[in-house]
């Protein structure tokens, strides 16, 4: 393919990935990585390395708005990063070793399975805007893991407090491993921990997950970049396109229902995951 056309297509596809990623809070890597492998014939480790770039651009573009609006809980996010960062470092290291061992096909199949596995998590998100506060665990109490935000829809300040910190740390470590291995945000797992284990309101969970995704991706990207698995000529147009898509997505988000967004995301990921698995099996 002509290089100029290749770059243009990368920017356009990345706009789509950033758009979907910002609307779902999942980072966009789940769409971008399979497309890089299937459409752009990129090797799987370079696609994963580029996936981190997608997440970094989405997270910085949309995360800054959530921080400005005090929706991201900096205290809770930074506390949980103590689990996601080592997880991501471990995951990225495993990916590099699997690549060195010529097991990229296995990685491709695992990526497809993991992407399919995120779908029930995306669909099963709790439908309660503000949870009933329960008792606070000792760690959450000691670190003051509580806060408040102004809800524009409810037109009032909503206080909240985190419940159980230890189970959330365990889920976050797993989310870090998945993110580091496959270059995806693993936002579905992060939101699960924030909503279910920590009992946080839906908006705070989504915004804090977005806030954390960037740091988790920085850990994975750092390893993949240092190991030479990020191609700058591929990654640069992807970063530009993703940031543009995320910018437009975050502007459109208030006008769309969560359900609509998921109905767009799910079929796209199913098709791409199946394609990736078939490639890994040498069928496609």
């Amino acid at each position: 393919m002509d290089l100029a056309l290749f770059v243009l297509l990368l920017v356009l596809v990345a706009i789509l990935a950033g758009f979907v990623g910002s609307l779902t809070g999942l980072g966009g890597g789940g769409v971008m990585i399979p497309l890089l492998v299937v459409v752009f014939a990129t090797s799987i480790p370079v696609a994963i390395g580029t996936g981190f770039v997608t997440i970094l651009a989405t997270s910085s573009a949309t995360g800054s708005t959530y921080v400005r609006d005090r929706l991201s809980d900096i205290r809770i996010g930074m506390f949980l990063e103590i689990a996601t960062v080592p997880g991501a470092l471990l995951g990225a290291t495993v990916t590099v070793f699997l690549t060195h061992a010529n097991l990229a096909s296995a990685l491709l199949i695992a990526l497809g399975v993991v992407l399919l596995g995120t779908i029930p998590l995306v669909l099963s998100r709790r439908h309660v805007e503000i949870p009933v506060p329960g008792p606070q665990g000792p760690v959450a109490r000691r670190l003051g893991l509580a806060g408040e935000y102004y809800d524009r829809f409810l037109k009032r300040t909503v206080p909240y407090r985190a419940a159980r910190a230890r189970p959330a740390l365990a889920v976050m470590f797993s989310a870090g491993v998945v993110s580091g291995m496959f270059g995806i945000g693993a936002g579905a797992l992060k939101v699960l921990a924030l909503e279910r284990s920590m009992n946080l309101p839906m908006k705070v969970s989504t915004a804090t997950s977005n806030f954390m995704i960037g740091v988790t991706a920085a850990a994975g990207a750092g390893v993949m970049l240092s190991a030479g698995y990020v191609n700058p000529v591929v990654a640069a147009p992807v970063a530009i396109g993703t940031a543009l898509g995320a910018f437009f997505g975050s502007r459109l988000l208030p006008a769309l229902q969560n359900r609509t967004v998921r109905m767009i995301y799910v079929p796209v990921v199913v098709v791409l995951s199946v394609e990736v698995i078939l490639r890994g099996l040498g069928i496609a």
Binding site: A41, S43, V53, E81, I82, V128, P131, N231
Partner: protein, 141 residues
């Protein structure tokens, strides 16, 4: 979607909420970092296309120049020579560094608020990130 009306929790905001300045600074860090990274990357992509007219995507996919520019000396000499690969690598480094600077600014504000436990956590996250990038990555290359 249902909305559950709730009583106000007995323990509301943390005893030492982060100052508004912390949120403003972190917003600025994320926006500035992304803006600078995208400006450098955009410049690099245009320059690359101008330098490689008629090139094919397979040439790009089979030649990854990044390892040349990952050391300080390699990046410095590449930028001094006007290498487009070095410019693109610099843009990616700024993109990766943006959330790391955000963690460092969190550490600063937790220290300012004399929150030893949270400052310790932020410091540990920062050390882990730098360890991964500076030690693990080059070690397993």
């Amino acid at each position: 979607m249902t909305t559950t009306e709730v009583p106000v929790p007995s323990s509301g905001p943390p005893p030492h909420p982060l100052p508004a300045e912390a949120y403003d600074r972190m917003t600025l860090v994320l926006r500035l970092g992304l803006g600078i990274a995208l400006a450098i990357l955009g410049l690099g992509v245009v320059a690359y296309l101008l330098q490689h007219p008629g090139a094919s995507s397979s040439e790009v996919l089979s030649n990854n120049p990044i390892l040349t520019y990952l050391s300080l000396s390699g990046l410095g000499s590449g930028l001094a020579n006007g290498s487009v690969g070095a410019v693109l690598t610099l843009g990616l480094i700024v993109l990766v560094a943006t959330p790391i600077v955000r963690v460092a600014s969190g550490l600063y504000y937790f220290r300012q608020g004399h929150e030893r436990a949270m400052a310790g956590i932020a410091f540990a996250v920062l050390v882990l990130l730098l360890f991964g990038i500076l030690v693990i990555g080059p070690l397993i290359r």
